[in-house]
Amino acid sequence: MNQLPTGMYQPGTSVVHQMKANIKIFCFLILTGAVLMAETIWGYAVLVLFSGCLIYFSKIGLQTALSSVRRLIWFLIIIFVMNLCFYGPENPWIKIGIFAPSYEGLMQGVHIAVRVILMMVIGNVLMVTTAPLVLTEGMETLLLPLKLFRIPTEQIAMILSVAMQFIPTLFEEADMIKKAQIARGARFDSKKLLDKAGAVMPLVVPIFLAAFKRADELSLAMEARGYRTDMARGQRKFGMPTGFEWLAIITCSILCILQILCL
């Protein structure tokens, strides 16, 4: 753990990279809806085509876009085989013990596999083209409608921002604590269940103590800087979507509506 993970983000200058994060997340949500609604072959075909365009426009390459699919390939195969063998036992092609592969099973397997792959590809495009910090900022603006339900969105936005800011610091700290305990002879590989719980104590307790100490100090510093949760604060402003961003929102919405109509 010498290395701070940066997620999957790869800097770039494509049109997708340049879109505002909140718009991208919004489009992502619409597209997720579209994928979940898709039922017919044509529905899927349109989505596959669209994902292709997405990969092309974001210039991230097929390799990157499919990276997490490759990691989960076994999971996909298992889901596929399970559906193939168990889904439609009424009129199977052949019956061997409990295994009863059928046409319905095959279709259901393809259905789920395609759905998962599509979700992953679209998710990857979002995550590869947007830095994690920017993503959380984007999420904050999308929280704003929740205000209608009297949910304290500003407080939530503050919590998320602080969480993001603490991650690298805590990474380093956790790494140092781990090293210090190893140097003291800590072992994390015991066999018995209760020993296992004991074995991670030298790691877990100090990490939480350190993190809570930071929380203690920061909350004090924030109060000293005049923060209070019981009063409205000024809000950051976001610009209106650009022409291309409107286009993206509209395209995604049309896709989603099409899927619903195809039902």
Binding site: N2, T6, E173, I182, A183, R184, G185, A186, P202
Partner: protein
């Protein structure tokens, strides 16, 4: 126990924007019983260096040898390494986690196969050494103590294992003057009893007073390695490279500027005072 670094190279997080604190071609040997101060600007690779010696990082190339044996060899006994090399990291108080002081101090002894009596006497000795009343503190939670006390408990936990080499990373940062002094005296005593000491510190005064030898790193490379007196005598060059020298040395330089005859290797207060008395008498 001697420590040898033989042309060690190390890169942090290669190929990421976070790549940092690389060590380049570091070679030096620390003999048994030495007191070595390690200096350098933040991010120069000091911490990487001690982690390599403690076997927590593996060099990209080159070797770290303890008594001539490569610690990264497959058949090197890691338990022995942890027993012989004690490391006090920065803010050691963060390591405490057990329910009682006694258990926490005894934590590093767990894998030694010592008898209960031996463990207890080692714990008692270490806590007494750090200035605690063993009977009074043993059953208390280590988390209830103040910051400075916690640090002393954590250090007792390292000393209980009776290491042959003690590595300290900024052990006196954040302590108040009395705490600093008391701790340095203790380290000196351990050193005189034969323990090899490697101490990272920004505090040039402490090192000038206590360390026999200074190793300075700069941008991951060995910048200086020599007897404390000689290293600090080259004040201008050190300051140009962002390394502070002891206050006595700075004062000696001021005197030299005003035309007084002051030895260049004046690094401790006692030396300085002797020369100032001589100057004063000469003046009168």
């Amino acid at each position: 126990m001697s420590i040898t670094l033989d042309s060690v190279f190390y890169t942090y997080a290669p190929g990421t924007p976070y790549a940092s604190a690389a060590l380049k071609n570091i070679s030096f040997t620390v003999e048994k019983g030495e007191f070595v101060g390690i200096m350098g600007k933040t991010g120069c690779g000091k911490s990487t260096l001690i982690q390599l010696i403690a076997g927590l990082l593996t060099p990209d190339s080159g070797a770290v040898l303890l008594d001539g044996k490569n610690i990264n060899d497959k058949n090197y006994d890691r338990n022995e390494l942890h027993r012989k090399v004690g490391v006090v990291f920065q803010h050691p108080e963060c390591q405490l986690f057990e329910t009682t002081v006694e258990r926490d101090v005894a934590f590093s002894l767990k894998h030694f196969g010592w008898s209960k009596e031996k463990v207890q006497s080692a714990v008692e000795r270490a806590l007494t050494m750090m200035g605690f009343d063993y009977e009074k503190v043993r059953e208390k939670s280590p988390l209830e103590f103040s910051g400075g006390e916690k640090r002393r408990i954590a250090i007792a936990g390292i000393l209980a294992a009776e290491p042959e080499v003690l590595i300290l990373d900024e052990p006196i940062a954040g302590l108040d003057p009395l705490g600093r002094e008391a701790f340095l005296v203790l380290v000196k005593r351990l050193n005189e009893a034969g323990m090899t000491i490697l101490m990272i510190s920004h505090n040039a005064d402490a090192l000038a007073e206590y360390a026999e030898r200074i190793v300075i790193l700069k941008d991951g490379m060995l910048f200086r390695d020599g007897v404390t007196r000689e290293v600090f005598s080259d004040m201008d060059e050190l300051q140009k490279n962002g390394i502070g020298v002891s206050e006595a040395r700075q004062c000696a330089a001021l005197l030299a500027e005003r035309g007084f005859d002051v030895a260049k290797d004046t690094i401790c207060y006692e030396d300085l005072l002797k020369q100032m008395i001589a100057i004063g008498r000469g003046q009168q």
